[in-house]
Every structure is written in C-alpha cells, then in structure tokens.
Symmetry: C2
Subunit: 324 residues, 2 copies
C-alpha cells in the first residue's frame, strides 16, 4: 500500500507492507487524515518516532472479526493499551505504560491507505457527519477533555492562549458548550476566523496579544494552546491567584521555567491530553458546531511536501491528506 514513512525524513513509499491484523483488531481504509501540531513535532524528533505518522483520521472498516463493523465509517481512539495492567483494567488505556499510540508510539498511523486499530478503539460516525468533520473528532475530543477535568466559570473568565488549530478547536468546543471565552493570539486573520466559529452566539472574543504586552485583565482559567514554552510564562501572567492553567500542548524542548509563581499564587496546573470520542461525535451529529471552516487544504499523499509546507504556514489552520 502507499504510505508516508518517517525515519528522520518523511517519504512516500508505494509498496509499504499491509497492516497485519490480529484477533480483536480491524483494518480501516483511511478516507481523510489531519496534520496536527504533534505530527510537525514528530518531524522534529519528538518521541523519537520512526514509522507512519498521523493520528487524526476518518475511514471505513475493511476487515474485522466483528462482522457488524465491516463497511462502517469510523473514527478511532489513538491509544491502544496492553490490556493487562492496572491502568488498562481501570479502563485508562490512555495511561497504560506499555501502550502504543497511533502514529506516535510503536504503531503505524493514518498517513497511509490503511491502518490497524483494536476494535474497541473504533467509533461509528453517523451518516449526517461528513468525513471532513469526522477527521477532527480526535482534536474535538481532546478539547472536550477540558470539560471533563476542570470546572469552568460561566459568564467569562476563560482565556485560550494561541490562535492555531488546537486553540481554534478548543474555542469552538467550549463556546459550543455554552462558555464565553477569550482567545489571545498573534495573527489577526486567524483570530477573526476563530471568532466567526461561533458567530451565531458571539461567545468567542478574540484579541491580539502582542509580545511584552502587560494586560491587567486576569482570568480564572487560562488554557495554553500555544505549543511553545513561552505560552506557560504568559499563562502565569494572565491567570488569577488561585486560578487554573490548562496545558493543552506538549513542547518538544524544555525551557527555563520558574515555578515559584505557581506556589506564591497557588495556581493549579492541569495537564490535558486526549479525550472521549463518544461525546465529540454526539456534538458533531447534533450540529453544536461545524469544524469545516477550519479546513485550509486537502492534499493527496504524493503531495505531502506541499501539505506539510501549508500546515507550517502561520495563517493556515487544518490541512488534510486524502490517502485513497
């Protein structure tokens, strides 16, 4: 099959081995795959990953022990636990220490014609939800994880730092859940597009947050979606005493951080990663929001160089690959 393979550089392989299915696993033909910030970090060496990247996808099951799954349109949870440890028994496969992670850790990912996941990881996509929306179920679920972890204030007091893909999806999900949020970014064009995601209710207020700016407004909850270490420092400036900082992005490199303000101001820092797929799919099916305005391009596998170049452009949101 055709696949993008990364081993220090990314290349298209036309005769990549087909996935070998074991009991309890399904093969999924990938319809669309999303390029995410983590994929770009992987290209810079994050996790030391070697294999097929890609972990956001929509597809159709072609082979499975579960006959009812064959032909089904699906999205898939990316963490596959060992099935045998305390975390897995507690249904925390996401935190199994021997887990594989689709396109990130020990398991080939979605930038290929086909991929392999445990049946239990697959979630059916209703007919009313398009592939273009379904491919974003993973980041929508990751944004929804914030709602599971933190009690957000109503009527304001929440700011999202950053104006990239993740920031946009977090703003969309939280405003869709009824929360008024501010978004503080550096790109006027993207900020306007983020605010427009909730034009119906006007719950997203986007503003330019220049370097070195010292706003006196403070927020009860600051959600760092910047993807860089400076975001945490800015979050510390913007958070109220006794407030909460939600860390949504992993920065590849360490940075000189002074945690003293966390202690002095009794800040709670909450690391937040993947989330539950079922509610994310329900929100899409219910039309609570529409992520498709975030799509800035769809590329075939053999134009992956152009696709990644587009994903790196500061004014672009979501770039998709269409492997089939």
């Amino acid at each position: 099959m055709r696949a993008l393979f990364f081993d220090g550089e990314l290349k298209l392989v036309n005769d990549y081995p087909e996935p070998m299915r074991m009991a309890g696993e399904s093969i999924v033909a990938v319809s669309l795959a999303g390029i995410c910030g983590t994929d770009r970090e992987i290209m810079r060496g994050y996790m030391g990953y070697r294999g097929v990247p890609g972990h956001e996808f929509a597809g159709r099951v072609t082979h499975s022990d579960d006959a009812s799954l064959i032909g089904a349109r699906v999205a898939g949870e990316i963490n596959a636990g060992c099935g045998d440890c305390a975390a897995c028994h507690a249904r925390m496969q996401r935190h199994c220490r021997r887990r594989t992670v689709l396109g990130i850790l020990g398991r080939d990912g979605a930038f290929a014609e086909r991929l392999l996941l445990p049946d239990a990881n697959l979630h059916r996509i209703p007919d009313t939800v398009s592939d273009e929306a379904a491919v974003m179920v993973e980041p929508i679920a990751a944004a929804g994880e914030i709602l599971d972890q933190v009690e957000l204030p109503t009527g304001g007091g929440v700011v999202i730092l950053g104006d990239g893909r993740l920031a946009a999806i977090v703003a969309m999900v939280l405003s869709g859940a009824g929360y008024a949020v501010a978004v503080a970014g550096r790109h006027r064009g993207k900020l306007a597009r983020i605010a427009a995601l909730d034009r119906a209710h006007g719950r997203i207020a986007a503003y330019l947050d220049g370097a070195g700016e010292r706003r006196t407004v403070r927020y009860r909850v600051v959600i760092d979606c910047t993807g860089n270490a400076a975001g945490f420092t800015r979050a510390l400036e913007l958070v109220e005493p006794r407030g909460t900082i939600v860390l949504k992005s992993t920065a590849a490199a360490g940075a000189a951080l002074n945690l003293a303000p966390v202690v002095i101001n009794e800040i709670t820092v909450v690391g937040s990663r993947c989330g539950r797929f079922a509610p994310a799919i329900e929100w899409l099916a219910a039309g609570r929001f529409d992520p498709r305005p975030l799509i800035d391009g769809v590329y075939p596998l053999d134009e992956s160089r152009a696709a990644f170049a587009a994903a790196a452009e500061p004014e672009k949101f979501k770039i998709l690959l269409r492997p089939a």
Copy 2:
C-alpha cells in the same frame, strides 16, 4: 529596639526604629522566631527584600486599639492585604496584589524585639500550647493548606519529597490527620527523626531516595518539599498518570523544565503556600502532634550568624531566635 536588618547582608542593629502603629494594628513583643527556608532564600536575594526578615513567631501583644488583645499570647498570619481590592473583599488578603508580607515583602518581620501586624492577623495561643510549639503555627498552617486544596487518598499513595523542615512538618500534619505518608529524602538521620514524629501510629514511612534511583513505585499524590528545582523533575518520575503534584516550596531560580510529561500523563500541579492558622492552633491545643522534637537550637539575636549557620546544616531541622 534590637533587630536583624538585611540589605544584602544581615546585621544586628541595636537602635532600629520602633514600629509605628496605625489604627487597627497591634505591636507584638516577639518571644521566639523561627528561621525558615524562605529566610535563607531571602539572604540569597529572593524577592529583593530589604528590611527585617522573619515571619514565623510567637509573641505577646504590648500595644493595640483592642484592649482585649493587650497581653495576649499570639501567633500571626503574615499577609496583610490593602483592605480595598477584590481579593481583600473576598477575604483573600493572602492574594491581594498590594499586600505586604511580614519579613518578606514591604513589612519588617520577626527577627526583632517587636513587630507590627493588623489586629485581624493575630491569633490567640491557648495556655496549653508552649511558645516553642506556637512559633511553628505558620508552617503547620502552610502544611494544613494541602488538606484544604487536595483530596488525599487514604491508605497510602502519598509521598513527600525532601527531608527538611517543611517536609517534616508536612509529614507530621498529614499523619496527624490520619493519612499514611511516605517520605523520600537524602539524609538517613533526619528521615529517622521524621518517622519518629508519628511513632504512636506509625503512619510515616521514611526511605532514602538516592540520586538517579529508578523506583517503579508510583504515587497518586507527590508533595514536593525539596526546595530545589530537581524536586519537580523527581516528582514527575514518581507521580502516577492522572496524579497530583503539590508544590510546597519556591525555588529562587528558574530551571530547565520540560512540562510535556504533565500533559502526556495528565498530571495536576497544585501550588500551595500559606494556610489557615485557626485549625493549626486547634491541632496543637488538641495534642494531635508535637513539633518540639524538630527544634535543634535556640539563639539570641546577637548570635544570628551561628543561628543561620546551624539552619544551613543538612542534618538540622528547626533553629529559633529569641529576640527578647
């Protein structure tokens, strides 16, 4: 009056100006004052403080508008709010942005014959509680703050990193509240003394945690009392996925920290500083624990050099100054 004054170096001043009392403030004659890690950080430039250090004390009120306070034995909360901002109106004087802090920020402290605090900051000490115990109300309250902030697991799953003064007091307070805690430190002698603080119930398990050691035991809650930046890195190694790290100490300098594990393992980091005095005094009055075995020396003001040298010794816990 006699006072220790710090302006880059610490010196004894025999004719330091008497505190000037305003309405609503009391003058307290200091019986005993404790040297704390923060004082030693101040000597290294923390907070850029210039003045009389010292914020742990027991004393007796000599002057006050409130006649019932005069002659009372007291301990005192160290944060004095402006009284006029949102934080102060919400009774969060501790987080007032214009606050002064006894011996730390804009307000002379306890290493002097007399100090000044708002009446509202003072707490009466029952006759059954000695000065030697009362001088530790502030760090006992700070340890008790953890109980207000974090729901601790019963039956184990809590580790305290460090074996200094703060670690000892946190272990004493948490075991006194009924929690089984492990203490991981570097000093065999101090670990034995910490374990002995709860000899009656045996709820403190102390162990040597050598550099580079890779224990596979993980804890639901890790409380960092090391006072150095390496403690946070060690805490990340020891905490369970979805667990909590409580940061109890401020490190003066930043350090190269990689927060990616906080996101990947969905860790919650809780900054924890000062706590409520009233329960701390109740615990002492009820004999829930006895902090006096932690006292390793009592020095007059004119032996402050020897006192600070003793406080710097790795095997010493609490060093007190007796200003009167």
